[in-house]
Amino acid sequence: MTLIILLIIIAAIVLYLIVVYNGLVTSRNGYKNAFAQIDVQLNRRHDLIPNLVETAKGYLKHERETLEAVVQARNAAVSGLSNAKGNPGNEDAMKDLAGKENQLTQALGRLFALREAYPDLKANQNMMQLSEELTSTENRVAFARQAFNDAVLTYNNKREVFPNSFVASMFHFQPAHMLEIEDPAKREAPEVSFT
């Protein structure tokens, strides 16, 4: 009799472990899938930049440094992305990617700031179109990032609550890290508002 009870208890525990394990795996796949969305949009962003530089080159003959900075930042971001794709949620990979994307955003910000001094460039049809595409892509990245961060949050919550935490540490479920890219819309100097 005790044996049967013992067996039932063990079976229940194993069943419980399986449920928790599967839940963890599901949400881990969830955030990995969410990263794929970011990957698509970041690729789109990186693909736009060579066109942008090509268009701007004709007008910005004396601003070679800015253009080169953009190209370099773009190449760094491409490598950061391919690195992060391998292990989304990894803290170092996420921080590295975020840092590189932020640098790219800053370099682009400088390039766009230059437009003020070159009205011809600003009026260029191609440039206007590219800047719209870039704005749109940055929004898409932001939205995809929200989804990814939400998925990471769900996973981390699931991983850390008691008693799931035992299962998580038993099977080495690593904590996932959110991707925190600066919102390009917020790159301006602090705004002023009335009291």
Binding site: K122, M128, N139, F143, A189, P190, E191, V192, S193, T195
Partner: protein, 657 residues
């Protein structure tokens, strides 16, 4: 605002409404049965006990159910055509994925962005090119065959952020299954209406039938059906409208969730509320999509309104919203001008910008936490003490503010302001009116006094200044004046002469621009004749009654839309500055002359008297309890002309949301 809680609440409310609707159908059937019984039908013959004939009543109820069901089904099926079919029937033009029209390209981009945010497949996109109201609708039965349709008015008047909010609202309708719910409700409603229609035909056929006895009975039953049907329809419409309204609140909440910002959608709502085109549609079939629209599509009774009142919606999104804001928006957007460049933050999708440069749309006045730029519509509370205390006393906050203001000045303008070659042109450009017919005259004058390349340069600056935030004009002028002082004397004099000519043209010259030029003049003249610029004179305030009156009257007149308010503001200012003398309100005819004179004379007052003037001014300006940015800047410029420098009375808000 917790949008999850809001969503839950709205969903619960609409579920209750659907239950109510089904109960109404049951009530209708019971009512018809009751009427039948009341008129003596549906009872068993006395031989069988005289009780109710349940079989007969059951037949009637079943018949009614079948009637409602069939009519609903027929109507529902006719509405179930895909979103594209609905959009076509509204006369909309499809926007293809490879469109080259920049505005349409941006629209598609926005829709694709929100699709990512909401996780819904990208719907077909349409534009109603003949609709000038600000509106949009989602159509279709399920997310897979959905279409989103936007009016031309939205493209003309909404910024990118605002349209993003509108689109997110429509996506919420798609995602929450509102389209399906609405089609079902319309179907049920039609089923109820069908009872009335059937009742009417029974009544007529009964009334004209030959057999008197049976005819009477049929006529009575027909009348009963007619009444129940139409009364039911009436209440059904009420419930339907109420369901729709709760779904709209849900959609607003979801839009905030998708875009993670409330400024965009609130800005769009404000523009609808402020502009005369509103959100009304001209199309014939508007009622088909009325419940899926962003704003009210048809004017009508509030009871049947498909959307909650606009102000209530804005308040729900931004509790701190002040309806006064709408006036500034209305002023800026009733006659928009072409934007100087398409990706300016305030430019609408179709490339229009607000008429008054520097006026921020609602979107820019984000929640205090996210700290938007100060728009002239933005209001603040300033007391006379507060203003006078601030004269010539800068705190660390002010320096920090100065830094940010400096940073926000476009590079091209700051470098021009520090270049001795360019600075005269820049100052001339600053003297040119931003709007109105005076501007053309002034441009012609400039063309006469300068050679062609220089005039072109000035025009170029005029264009750049147009986009400049109002708050940045004074700092820019200050920078420029420092440079002017380094110019040779002859050139300074020449510049003053030219500014003077441009300032004093006839026509609509904005008072604030005028004062700015006036301040530039005063300060440059000070530099020209340092001894004459003794900071304070010994004139008595009593001797300057006329000047004080003119200045107060002009400022009161400028700051208030109606004369009554202006008069009261004037009285308040006088009471503050000169309590013992009573002055009569009168706006001088030649205000430029009067203002020149007033500023010149008042400048010669001793400091104590100047303080009273500044107190009076701030009293006039904050009379309505609030100070707009343009009023505030006017105050600062007047103070500067009186040699009482006033730091910008604003506080730093960090950009973190």
């Amino acid at each position: 605002m917790n949008f999850f809680a809001l969503q839950k609440q709205a969903r619960r409310a609409s579920r209750r409404m659907v239950v109510l609707f089904l109960l109404a159908v049951v009530a209708i059937i019971v009512a018809v049965d009751a009427i039948v019984v009341f008129f003596g039908y549906g009872k068993l013959p006395p031989a069988q006990g005289g009780g109710l004939d349940y079989q007969f009543l059951g037949m009637i109820s079943l018949g009614l159910l079948v009637l409602i069901g069939l009519a609903s089904l027929q109507r529902t099926l006719s509405l179930r055509a895909g979103g594209s079919a609905v959009a076509h029937s509204m006369g909309a033009t499809p926007v293809n994925p490879d469109t080259t029209n920049p505005a349409w390209r941006r629209l598609r981009n926005i829709i694709e962005e929100v699709a990512i945010a909401s996780g819904v497949p990208v719907p077909d996109v349409y534009v109603m090119e003949h609709e000038l109201g600000i509106n949009a609708f989602a159509a279709g039965y399920s997310p897979a065959d959905a279409a989103i349709c936007v009016t031309q008015g939205s493209l003309d008047k909404l910024t990118r952020d605002e349209l993003q909010g509108v689109i997110a609202h429509e996506f919420s309708h798609i995602l929450n299954g509102d389209m399906r719910l609405n089609i079902r409700l319309i179907g049920l409603l039609f089923g109820i209406l069908a009872i009335g229609i059937v009742g009417r035909s029974i009544m007529y056929s009964g009334a004209y039938s030959r057999s008197r006895r049976g005819g009477n009975g049929a006529a009575i039953i027909g009348l009963a059906l007619l009444l129940v049907g139409y009364i039911g329809f009436f209440f059904g419409r009420l419930i339907q409208a109420s369901v729709a309204r709760s779904r709209e609140s849900l959609a607003d909440a979801s839009a905030v969730q998708f875009t993670r910002q409330n400024a965009g959608i609130a800005g769009a709502l404000k523009k609808i509320a402020a502009l005369s085109e509103s959100s009304l549609l001209q199309a014939q079939n508007t009622d088909q999509v009325a419940h899926m629209l962003f704003g009210e599509g048809m004017a009508g009774f509030a009871m049947f309104a498909t959307h909650p009142p606009l102000l209530q919606r804005i308040k729900a999104l931004q509790p701190e919203f002040d309806p006064e804001e709408l006036k500034a928006i209305a002023k800026a957007w009733s006659e928009p001008v072409p934007a100087t460049h398409a990706d300016a933050p305030q430019a609408s999708l179709a490339g229009f910008a607000p008429a008054l440069a520097g006026v921020q749309s609602g979107a820019a006045t984000a929640t205090p936490a996210s700290g938007g730029a100060a728009a002239p519509g933005t209001r603040t509370r300033v007391s006379a003490e507060h203003v006078t205390q601030q004269v010539a006393s800068a705190t660390p906050d002010h320096f920090q503010l100065a830094q940010t203001l400096r940073k926000r000045l476009p590079q091209a303008l700051t470098s021009a302001a520090s270049d001795t070659q360019m600075v005269p042109w820049l100052l001339l450009a600053m003297a040119v009116a931003r709007t109105g017919d005076a501007r053309t005259v002034q441009t012609q004058l400039i063309a006469q006094m300068l050679n062609a390349p220089a005039a072109r340069k000035v025009n170029n600056f005029v264009g750049q200044l147009e986009k400049l935030d109002l708050q940045l004009r004074l700092p820019l002028a200050t920078l420029a004046i420092a440079t002017v002082r380094r110019l040779p004397r002859s050139r300074q004099e020449k510049l003053m002469e030219r500014i003077n000519t441009i300032m004093h043209v006839d026509g609509e010259v904005n008072m604030e621009e005028y004062c700015l030029s006036r301040m530039v003049q005063v300060q440059v003249l000070d530099a020209l004749k340092p001894p004459a610029a003794a900071k304070h004179g010994h004139k008595r305030l009593r001797q300057c009654q006329r000047e004080t009156r003119d200045l107060f009257a002009l400022v009161a007149h400028y700051g208030n839309d109606n004369e009554d308010c202006a008069q009261q503001a004037f009285a308040a200012a006088c009471a503050e500055a000169m309590p013992d003398i009573s002055l009569a309100y009168a706006v001088p005819d030649d205000w430029q002359q009067a203002l020149d004179n007033a500023l010149a004379q008042l400048d010669r007052l001793p400091p104590e008297s100047k303080e009273r003037i500044v107190r009076g001014l701030s009293c006039a300006i904050r009379f309505d309890g609030q100070v707009t940015v343009s009023e505030g800047e006017l105050l600062r410029v007047v103070c500067a002309a009186l040699h009482c420098p006033l730091p910008p009375f604003v506080r730093i808000a960090t950009a973190q949301a």
